[in-house]
Each structure stands twice: as structure tokens, then as C-alpha cells.
Amino acid sequence: MSEATTMSDAAETVPAERPARFARPSTRWLREFSLLPAMALLILIGFIESPDFLTGDNFLAMLQQSTELSVLVLAEALILISGRMDLSLESTVTLAPVIALWLVLPTSGNRFNGLGFGAAWMAIPICLLVGAAVGTINGFLILKMNLNGFVVTLGMLTMLHGLVIVIDGGQTIFTLPPSFSYLGRTEWAGQPASVWICGILFAVGIVALGWYRHGRGLYAIGGNPGAAKAAGIRVERTVWIVLIIGSMLAAFAGMLYTGRLGSASASAGTGKIFEVFAATVIGGVSMNGGRGSLFGALTGVLTLKLIENVLTFGHVSANDIEFFNGVVILVALIVSRYTSGAAQD
């Protein structure tokens, strides 16, 4: 991944073979939609498999189950577009709610006793603050101390997960303040609140990245930090803000997750970061920065979810399911490679 402080990555080098993808202008937009054929195929398979597949209930369930992953993918997509990466999002998902609960829950009366600090409604702002703090620390280590972003966030991944266990002793916390449970349970206009919120977040993100000055700036930063700097974009500050927003989104995902599952624990998000990357990159966001769209990333999430759902409806035997999961991911990749007509990066 490119580090914004070096100008070297985005610059092109060397003779011959400029990428052929620029030849026809139309194909560039295909990148955003390149997963749609794969998705259509999956839906067709699901439709053939079971009459219960193509139902509003099933699709709604899929959406609801994808909310946290979507929010995380939104965060990672923003970070990747700016030319960075953050592995520690996975731990922030668990850490932020646990710290919020720990501070807010009363000092006695439950299996897990908190510090009774502040009112119950403060759980949500505290949770977001924890996210912001994690992002700030990551930004400091990466941008100010010039440490490698991959290893820093890998170290943070371990440390923050460990911190959850230090705080909750490895137990699950069941006592949730009403604000958390509200998010997990309420419906607005017949749909789960989390689906609405997630939709709104994506809409805001898509608008900001498409039609807002600072959003467009992220592409410039990820595409060529040196050029962005010379054009008057505050590269370091912007990247730092993106890291903070990313971690706050992860904290928010943690809130949704806690609300939906009705509990918070260290084991909640384990291994999720792989899924996050898979969805983001399948969705066309480049690991090298500067390329990709949030809409594409969203199709990435939905594709993974569809794969899982189709395999479940297909009654693939328990022993074979992971194998087929991998196979279908690779097939989806190949299909999207040929619909977009471009080499992936």
C-alpha cells in the first residue's frame, strides 16, 4: 500500500505498456458495476434452489445481517481509497462498546460491573469517542512516527483485542443500556433501524466522495499524494481524519453489532477483518489507493452475503461449505474481472 508521505508510489515509471484500460472511456465505469452480473447469477441460483430464497423476508434478513460488515467496509474503503490500510478496525468493533459499557454500567447488581460513570445515554458518545481515540493513535504512529501502517495496525489489532479481555475478563456483557438495544431492535417504517442507518451512512459517503471537495480529495491523495500536496490538499491532516472517521465507523459498527446480538464480548468480531478486505477489494477498491467506489464496496459486501446465503439454501453439506465458499469467491472474482474488462489491482 502506498504511504502518503512518500511521493513515489503513484508516479508512473518506465517504458512501454501504459495500462490498456484507458483505451475506451466507457469501461471505467464498469468497475463500479462489475459485480452485478455475478450477483445476478447468484440470485438466479438461489431462485432455482428454493422458493424461500427470493422473498422480501430473506433479502431483508440478508441486509440486516450485513449492516455491521457494511459499515466496516465503508470505513476500510475510505481508508484504502486514501492509500492506507487499517487492520485494527476489527478490534475497535469490540473494544469501543466494551469500554463504553464498562464506564457506563452501574458498579453493582450485574454479573459485569462497570464504573457507573455517567448516565446510560452517554454510552453512544463514549463508544464513538473510543473509536476516535483509536484512530488518533493509529494516525499518530503512522503519520508522525512514520511507522509502517500494516504492522502498526496489526500490532493495534492484537493490543486492543487484548485490552478488551483485560477489561471484561473474557466474559460476555449482557447488560446493555437502552440506547444500544434500541439500535439493535427498533424498526423504522417497517425496516430495522440499523438497515436505515447503514443506508444513510453509505448515501452520505457516496455523495461526499462523488460531489464534495474533500471527498474528491481522498482520491487525489490515494492516487498521488505528492500531487495532492502540491495542489494544496492537506494530505497528512486529511489522512489522519480519515483514519479517525474509519475507527469511529468501526466503533459504530460495534454498537450495531452489540445491539443486534444483545451482548458484547471479546470474541465478537474475531476474523472479521479478512471478510472486510475481501468485500472491499472484490468490490473494486484498489489496495494501492486512489481507485474504487463506495457503491462498488457495497456490492462486494452483498456478494459475499449472497454467496453465503445461496450455499445455505443449497444445502451444501457442512464439510463442503467452506470449500465452495472459496470456489464461489474466486468465480465471482473472475466474472467481475471479465465484465469490467480491466486487470485488477
Binding site: Q65, G271, T312
Partner: protein, 323 residues
């Protein structure tokens, strides 16, 4: 008063049963799945094809949604993260769908029946066995499971409490391993380098057995119990490999976690739930006790201690699978 299997032949009232397997990469759960599949195939039941949640709560939650979407009226599951399933249980309860939980006891949320051996008893049995063999002194290495799982916590806690109470002179080195064999081997090697080890308690034979034996073999410590260098080993699970090791004198005992009974009684209670039967705390007709939980009932199946004396008992599930 508990019911016997009397009603098991009758049909389950046309109500579909949805079954989710927790993972497919461990011997124990594989055996469990085999027993369940055999029972399902044998006909008497109206079960949907089982799903697999690969040790992920998320997948479990969505599998449950899918199963109920397909019309399941009873759910059999084995939530590996006993906390994170709470609101799923709540929502199932609100749809009046009873849940049978296998092996793990959900921390919160209504369950119809938990089918589970008493994990605290595992820890206590292991403690007593080792305590007796070591005659109250020595050093024991304990491979703890994942502390975020209730089974790991129960076993560790019971073992630790019992040791403290009954054998205060035994030094217990509790090593967190997250159920990873490699980590266990490394910790054991460190412990052996640091001094003598007289006993080992491994909380899961499936993952810890082979690495432990392999290391001891390399260190020439696999010697018969008569040798003073012998390290007393007790395991948990009751898989065939453990029985082989007991017969070969490599380990001394294991607690058999009855995969067959888990499967049998999971389905039994699922059918009972479909038929709307109810149970009350107390002893059952299959050598177990139903106890009251805050959020339901738990049938605590017997988990026999297996030593060289009874390792050939054909009723042990480890002697029935494969060869």
C-alpha cells in the same frame, strides 16, 4: 419427573426441526454431526438439512434466520460464543420457537433445554484424578481452553478451585492456549525447561493430545506409570485417539464427552419440543439430571472417566466410531 424416550417414535407433529452444526474441523463435532445425520436419516423426524456455522456467531445468526425462514419450528444449535446469541434467542422466543442448545449453555435468552455434560465436573474429575495420582504434591501444567468460551472457563475454574481446596501443595501452571495445539506444545516445552512436570491436564484431547505426546516422545518422557519420571496426563473429550493412548500407556485417563448422547438427546428434546412436551428438574431415566437454569433447563448428561480399567467399554462413543 422426567420423560423417557417413550414418545420418540411418534411423529413430531409435522413441525420442522432446524439443526445447525457449530464447526466441521474438530473430531468431536464431526462425530456429533455423524450421529445426528444418522438419526435424521433414519426417518422418524421432519428435519431440514442441517446448516453449519463454522464457529462464527454471525453465520449462526443468519443460519437460524434462514432455517426459520424455511419453516423450522424447533432449533437445535451449539452456540460456541454463548453470549453473542442472546438476542437471537430472544427473537426466537418471541416467535415461540423452542431452542435446544448442545454442549454450551447460552448465558442469556430463553432455551427449551440445554443438552450438555457438566463441564465443571470435568474439571473436578480431572483435579481429583491427578491429585490422587500425585499424592498431593508436584507440578501440574494445565492447558486451558479459550477463556472466552464457557466450557473453557467452567473447566478451568472447577479445576483451579478443586486444586486449591483439596491439594494446596500441588503447583498448577495454568497456560492459556486458545485451544491451539501448537501454543500448548510451546508452553509445555517452556515448563519442562523450567523444571519438573508431574502432571498434565489438557482440556481438549482433540487439539492437545498429539502435540503433547510428540513433544514428550522427543524428550524421552513417555514412560510407564511405574517409572518415577512418568508424567500423569488426563485429557477431556473421549475421542478414539485418546483411547489408543490410554491403551498404550501414554496417557492415564480422559473424560468422555458423549458425542453420541449429545446427538441422541438433542434430537430427543427437539422432537419433544415439537410435540409441546414439558420437562421439570430432577433425575431422568438415562442416568442424568435435569437442573433448572435462570433461562431454561439443562440435562446434564453423564461424562464417564475413562482409564485403562474401562477403556474397552463398548458403550463409550469413542469405541463406536470408525476404528
Amino acid at each position: 419427573a422426567a420423560c423417557g424416550r417413550g414418545g420418540s417414535k411418534s411423529d413430531s407433529g409435522g413441525k420442522k426441526i432446524g439443526i445447525d452444526f457449530p464447526r466441521s474441523d474438530s473430531d468431536f463435532w464431526n462425530s456429533y454431526a455423524k450421529y445426528v445425520n444418522a438419526d435424521v436419516k433414519s426417518g422418524s423426524m421432519n428435519a431440514l438439512p442441517p446448516t453449519n456455522s463454522n464457529n462464527k456467531t454471525d453465520t449462526l445468526v443468519s443460519n437460524v434466520t434462514t432455517l426459520t425462514g424455511q419453516g423450522a419450528k424447533v432449533i437445535v444449535m451449539a452456540p460456541q460464543d454463548t453470549g453473542a446469541i442472546a438476542s437471537t434467542l430472544d427473537s426466537l422466543a418471541s416467535k415461540k420457537i423452542p431452542v435446544v442448545s448442545v454442549d454450551t449453555r447460552p448465558d442469556k435468552g430463553q432455551v427449551y433445554m440445554v443438552v450438555r455434560a457438566d463441564n465443571k465436573a470435568y474439571g473436578t474429575k480431572a483435579c481429583q484424578f491427578l491429585g490422587d495420582k500425585l499424592k498431593g504434591t508436584g507440578t501440574i501444567v494445565e492447558f486451558e481452553g479459550d477463556l472466552t468460551s464457557i466450557n473453557g472457563r467452567d473447566r478451568s475454574q472447577a479445576f483451579g478451585d478443586c486444586m486449591k481446596q483439596n491439594y494446596p501443595n500441588i503447583k498448577v501452571e495454568a497456560e492459556p492456549t486458545n485451544w491451539v495445539g501448537d501454543t500448548a506444545a510451546a508452553k509445555l516445552q517452556d515448563a519442562l525447561n523450567a523444571g519438573t512436570v508431574n502432571g498434565i491436564y489438557m482440556q481438549a484431547g482433540g487439539v492437545f493430545l498429539a502435540p503433547t505426546l510428540s513433544l514428550l516422545k522427543q524428550k524421552n518422557l513417555l514412560v510407564p506409570p511405574t517409572d518415577p519420571k512418568h508424567i500423569f496426563i488426563i485429557s477431556n473429550d473421549g475421542i478414539p485417539a485418546e483411547f489408543q493412548a490410554i491403551k498404550a500407556g501414554q496417557i492415564d485417563a480422559t473424560v468422555s464427552q458423549p458425542a453420541d448422547l449429545y446427538a441422541k438427546y438433542a434430537l430427543f428434546y427437539a422432537q419433544a419440543a415439537a410435540q409441546g412436551k414439558t420437562f421439570a428438574p430432577g433425575p431422568t431415566d438415562h442416568n442424568s439430571t435435569i437442573i433448572q437454569l435462570p433461562n431454561g433447563l439443562e440435562d446434564q448428561l453423564p461424562a464417564p472417566l475413562v482409564t485403562s480399567a474401562n477403556v474397552d467399554d463398548s458403550s463409550l462413543w469413542g469405541n463406536q466410531v470408525g476404528k
